[in-house]
Amino acid sequence: MLAMNFRGPQRVRIDEKPVPEILHPQDAIVRVTRSCICGSDLHLYNGSVPDTRVGMTFGHEVTGVVEQVGPEVENLKVGDHVLVPFNIACGKCVFCRQELYGNCHESNPEATAVGGIYGYSHTAGGYDGGQAEYVRVPYADVGPVVIPEGMDPDDAVMLTDVVPTGYQAAEMGGIQPGDTVVVFGAGPVGIMAARCAWLFGAGRVIVIDQIDYRLDFVRRYAPCEAYDFRSIGDPVLFLKKTTDWLGADVCIDAVGAEANGSPAQNLLGRGMKLVAGATPALHWAINSVKKGGIVSIVGVYGPTQSLVPIGNVVNKGITIRANQASVKRLLPRLIEHVQNGILDPKALITHRIPLEYVSDAYRMFSAKLDDCIKPVLLPPAARA
């Protein structure tokens, strides 16, 4: 089969690989119909996540048709068109039973901090991902959901990660009616977080980024105020002024380790990789939230140390909430929102690219070429 093949930082290509097999009685093999490139894939692409091995296939935002099921799979059958949450979750461990599906303890041998994630390095379990023609789906009775009749597959693939992550970012903010919410980052997750902040009753939503076309997009899509941090001087000072000098009630970090805005952190975290990425977005979030406010983090950081003003977290009495989205917990509500026209996730998809051009797709997304917001890879059979 055709599959993306990681060859080193900023080097990927399409290659022939063996079709995956059932390795566990609760596995399914899924023929991929859609596979997105996620902003967090760029951390892998740039070599920022430890134990990202050459030869791996990335891809954790997948829809596909069930081709084969293991002997213990009961809820799926061959031919079902499913969306596959990015978390691999057993449904049995204490964390899954507590609905912390991103923290499953039976899907990732290599690290205890996070559960298994498709195609996300060996730090997330060592699974080959879905930027391929086929993917192995463990615990097939737990995660995958049959795409509801009439739902556009482009909407479905966005429900595997982007929508739940953006929604949970807003949910973790504990937004109360009238709250001012600031979202750092106008990538797909930041855009969705800004959109979802309104659903929780935000009174004002502000997005900070530096890419003009993304700011224009989120301004229309969320809708919200959206500012280029390069044009507002000190973003923290700007946000203090515009919130009557006290700060936002909720700040959301939807950027993670690839944040721009601090040359020193760029050098240390992105250039020399001495710390786990650059953290200006989180730094600004902590410093521009109100005393007693909430900082919600969905941006992805490496597992080593990061430079954050933890002293201000203490002094301001800030609550920090963070996690990988618990996709399975959120899906029923989010499917409703899509079906009722409250959320329109497919509008974020700007590029539909044949899987064979995966190198170009990564480059376009990474370098933000051609006003790319969200690229989706289409395997040959899905284009027929």
Partner: protein, 178 residues
């Protein structure tokens, strides 16, 4: 310049999920009464180990399922095995893994060449997309590289006869030259 503030009442779905009880909020545990039980749940069936799987020393075993992509091998594999002697809290774990990642790039390159495939790094880096949408980003380093290479060649070309001349000057006169 500050932009107009959006009127929430005009936003589709405003407040549809508002809930005063949403604070404290997720990621909270749904209490099941098992909070203090420890690692004692009924485990799923265990996936047979057909490849070498490293596991964090912060757990007693390999998880019930695991990925089988790219098992450790070569020098990078030795480093990875060493890294897993240390906990996830230790630099002794993460730094060798980062080093192993860099070494595995070289191993991958040599593996490609060994199979008779010389990787097209321009294509692997998405050079075609860059050329189509951001030609300057391709041209500037290419022109810079060409300029540096030309300068080096010119320098070497000019230097060679000078050295030869110098060497000739240093040679003693032949006895029969007089």
């Amino acid at each position: 310049m500050e932009q107009a503030i959006i009127d929430p009442a005009q936003v589709k779905g405003w407040g549809i999920d508002a809930d005063p009880k949403n604070d404290p909020t997720y990621p909270m545990r749904t209490r099941t009464g098992e909070e203090h039980v420890g690692y004692r749940w009924e485990r799923p069936p265990l996936q047979p180990r057909t490849v070498e799987v490293l596991h964090s020393n912060e757990r007693p075993n390999v998880s019930a399922v695991f990925g089988t992509s790219t098992p450790p091998s070569g020098l990078s594999g030795m480093l990875r095995r060493a890294a897993f002697q240390y906990s996830e809290s230790s630099f002794g774990h993460w730094l060798p893994l980062m080093l192993a990642d860099r070494i595995s790039v070289m191993e991958g390159f040599l593996g490609d060449v060994g199979r008779g495939h010389f990787p097209n790094i321009f294509v692997e880096r998405g050079g075609k997309a860059e050329w189509k949408y951001n030609r300057t980003a391709v041209m500037v380093p290419a022109l810079l590289g060409a300029a540096l290479a030309s300068a080096a060649l010119i320098y070497l070309y000019q230097r060679r006869p000078t050295e030869e001349r110098s060497r000739a000057r240093r040679l003693p006169a032949r006895p029969d030259a007089a």
